[in-house]
């Protein structure tokens, strides 16, 4: 067969430059079916390689270049295309913590101590508070962190639609779920304001599905994850925890069906300071609930663990007094808080002096002890003797760590005065610091 390529190309060019309808191309080409057109569009969007099933199965051998990095927005908390959630009991400071995080993104300032990867447009949808309360919460954070209205103009949007906003999903009497008004409204606002992060607070109010129905809750979450993927945005849904003892970092404490927490990739928990922690940090029992810790509950896409992030709740006067209410309101916000370091300022020399003293024992021949009832033989007192800046809680923590690590070895001995067998501490010299 002899082909005149020149003629073919000229003919195509003439048609292309003339009165030619590109849509007709598909009709003209019978070999080009629906799947091929889909594939072409997917290739253009960088989504897929050829596939005969529509599953977009890819050959890993073709992945010569690394995929683009994940679109992190704030620390390990918010990421484009991912669903985040913060689990906490009511009244712990969930909303205060989240609003500070949203303001970090909107102002490009690390107000929560987390790195802001890129400034982002934020939409807060409060389904719990009315507009005035929402404004008070935002204002409290703005006053405390010295943020002006121009700093957030066109970067932070909010609404408190109440019932008028609808739900993401609703269930009819037959238990069938259907898409609600909120989903469409949300999509329109995301497009209209070019939103990068949507915060829906709280999750339980975004739907009217029975909250223990895993399969239905899964559909609600799917609406959010689809939005995140479609518009390349981060979605955050703070969530109440179930009743029980607060346990930092336990993502399984989310209220209702577990499918919500399962679907959210970036889950953190917020917990008030415990009595034990307050003793270690030297915080009065009456003040400990002003300190809250943020733990990675279930971070599916990064390595978990790590130290908790601490925040302090701060009451902020809004200066909105009137004749009737001259003092105006005081509303909470948060600021990062650094707990005192138990070990930070103790060098090896000092630590070894403490251990030598503990090993030598008391002048009456008794040994020091790590038991809570030891009183006069308490080993933690040796720590405060050499490091008077340490609180009792910190000193106890140091002894506890040494016992746990085998530096201090509890063992029985005979009390030289009473001749009774009691427990006391000796030092494993091979494990002393610097050995």
């Amino acid at each position: 067969v002899k082909l005149d390529l020149q003629a073919i190309l000229e003919n195509a060019k003439r048609k292309h430059e003339g009165d030619y309808d590109p849509v007709a191309l598909d009709r003209l080409d019978p070999s080009r079916d629906q799947r091929e057109r889909q594939f072409e569009e997917q290739r253009i969007n960088g989504q897929a390689k050829p596939s005969s099933t529509g599953l977009n199965v890819r050959d890993a051998g073709d992945d010569i270049e690394a995929p683009p990095p994940r679109g992190w927005l704030l620390g390990n908390t918010f990421c484009r295309k991912f669903l985040s959630s913060l689990l906490a009991d009511g009244g712990v400071g969930k909303t205060a913590q989240r609003y500070a995080a949203y303001l970090s993104l909107a102002t490009n300032r690390p107000l929560t101590g987390e790195h802001v990867f890129q400034r982002a447009r934020v939409l807060i949808i409060s389904l719990e508070d009315d507009t005035s309360e929402l404004q008070r919460r935002i204002l409290a954070a703005r006053i405390h962190h010295d943020i002006s209205t121009t700093d957030v103009k066109e970067w932070l949007f909010y609404c408190a639609p109440g019932a008028a906003g609808g739900k993401l999903m609703t269930a009819d009497k037959g238990g069938r779920a259907s898409l609600g008004l909120l989903a469409a409204n949300l999509e329109a606002e995301i497009i209209g304001h070019q939103i990068d992060l949507v915060g829906l607070d709280p999750f339980v109010k975004t739907h009217s599905i029975p909250e223990n129905e895993n399969s239905l809750i899964d559909e609600v979450v799917q609406v959010l994850t689809d939005l995140a993927a479609k518009y390349n945005i981060a979605v955050d849904v703070p969530h109440h925890t179930s009743k029980g003892i607060p346990e930092p970092g336990n993502a399984n404490r989310g209220r209702g069906a577990s499918s919500m927490v399962d679907a959210a990739r970036l889950v953190t928990t917020l917990t008030p300071m415990s009595s034990d922690e307050a003793k270690i940090f030297g915080i009065a029992e009456t003040e400990r609930k002003q300190y809250i810790r943020l733990d990675n509950g279930k971070v599916n896409i990064i390595r978990g663990g790590g130290n908790p992030k601490w925040f302090r709740l701060v009451g902020v006067r809004l200066k909105n007094g009137t004749e009737l209410y001259p003092n105006g309101d005081e509303v909470q916000t948060i600021e990062p808080w650094q707990p005192p370091e138990t070990w930070g300022d103790l060098g090896n020399n000092l630590l070894n002096q403490i251990l030598t003293q503990i090993d030598a024992g008391l002048p009456d021949g008794n040994r020091y002890s790590d038991t809570p009832s030891s009183k006069g033989r308490a080993a933690w007192r040796v720590v405060t003797q050499y490091a008077p800046q340490k609180t009792e809680g910190q000193a106890r923590e140091i002894i506890k760590t040494w016992v746990k690590n085998g530096v201090l070895i509890p063992g029985d001995y005979e009390n030289p005065a009473s001749r009774k067998t009691v427990s006391g501490l000796t030092v494993d010299h091979a494990k002393k610091p610097g050995k």
Partner: protein, 81 residues
Amino acid sequence: MTSDINLQTQSPDLESRITRQLELLALRSFELADRVAAGELQFLDAVDVAFDSAVASGLADLVGYDVIQVVLAATFEKVRP
């Protein structure tokens, strides 16, 4: 510019079918080149799409990869970086 193609089967309709498919490939490539010019697509991505389309439709196997290259070179000439 002419091209000799060795075919296993000498079907009377084959020449016109190949001509039509090549013309369609050229037309589609012109369209993709327009999108490159408009900044909607990267040059290499657009060429890949056209090339893969020629492969997927069986045209490349029929006429050979050199012919496909000639068509793509001509149609993307104006937007080549």
